[in-house]
Symmetry: C2
Subunit: 204 residues, 2 copies
DNA sequence: AAAATCACAAACCCGTTAGTCGGTAATATT
DNA sequence: AATATTACCGACTAACGGGTTTGTGATTTT
């Protein structure tokens, strides 16, 4: 009973540190020893808990990344208010998180997709599926917005959703180098501008 | 004289193959031997021409990537026509190139930025500078467009430029997995939509 | 209390990879 | 013709990284 708790605790520590380093330095560029050194643990400990480095990474995706995507990117846009406002706030939050050098998990996803593309189909599938979940939820939020008269009925919700995701992933990429605050500010302005264009037209 | 030509030819071959593999598999994930095997050359040949793997990569950036960024992303938007049209066509071209699995060099840049971020400041500087060149040229094209009455005078050209780059890099990232054609089509639609919003208002 | 299991440590194996170095055939220079 | 330089070969080294294995103290089960 106590044993199981210890097991979970150690695994969790490894996963948290692993995600941190994989995200900073890349998966292939981070050795298992790098992670273990930070935790004062040994190879034996690692291979006692995980089958392989790849298996370890997948467990990180399942236990840490997917949940965070839900809480940071999906739950905040659920509700019956104007989805364009909800999305605006959600993006703002995510970019501010990013600015403080914490992980916003949308970028984490695209970062890893970049690295694993063409190398590891299984991991790519996980990443892709997770991104898809975000997209699907954006689309349905927009459609609800259409129904409730917040979004113009002529807009292509799929198109808007992937445009939102694209621009977010792109700006996030630019923010790693260069003045993050200025980029965020400008990005939010243009996003709002774009949203005004797809909002329900108030014909006078 | 003849010798120098041979030298250049060999170096060029190595650079072309190097870029191809680095782009496909990543820099750290591609060994020098991988490149040499494809060319039937030896380690000796490589280190005769280049100081190190890093030095080799920088030479690729200078000789191949920067030039391509100019010819594919910058020259097409120079001119006195409506910059929004020029940019639209340029993005369309780039995405079509990407769809045929050829390199569009904007994405090549962001791809490598992703990989080298936090690892190699010198290479990051090269990449960042190149991206900056693209951005600066976008801004000045937009400003000229303002002057010539194509772009609304209230728009923030810097903001628009980085929004364009962001969304492009983002959609390019999404295109590596998933249906590229559909994504391109939707992206272009939303981009045009956005451009209509920042175009000169024709007050009736 | 004895036996079994857990959670790890530490040394080791082995493939890979950046970089070195001594050689050499072809070409250019004197 | 003798010498020097160029462009390259291929064997080698040292370090690293993923994974294995053996061992061991602490804890749990019987």
């Amino acid at each position: 009973m106590e044993k199981n708790l210890k097991r979970m605790a150690t695994m969790h520590k490894m996963q948290v540190t692993g995600l941190e380093l994989f995200y900073k330095q890349g998966f292939y560029n981070t050795s298992i020893d790098d992670i273990l050194k930070q935790l004062d643990l040994s190879k034996g400990a690692f291979y006692y808990h995980f089958k392989s480095k790849e298996d370890f990474f997948i467990s990180i995706l399942q236990n840490l990344v997917v949940r965070k995507v839900y809480s940071m990117l999906i739950e905040p846009i659920e509700g019956h208010d104007n989805p364009l406002d909800l999305i605006t706030n959600c993006m703002e939050e995510a970019l501010q998180t990013a600015e403080h050098n914490e992980n916003d998990y949308g970028f984490v996803l695209s970062n890893f997709m970049n690295e694993f593309n063409g190398k590891n189909p299984e991991i790519m599938k996980y990443l892709n599926d997770t991104l898809k979940i975000w997209e699907v939820n954006l689309v349905s939020a927009l459609q609800k917005g259409k129904f409730n008269g917040y979004v113009d009925r002529h807009v292509d919700c799929e198109g808007v959703a992937s445009y939102i995701i694209s621009s977010f992933l792109g700006i996030r990429m630019l923010m790693v180098e260069g003045s993050a605050t200025a980029l965020r500010y400008r990005y939010m302005q243009q996003l709002k501008f774009y949203f005004r264009a797809i909002a329900q037209k108030q014909t006078a």
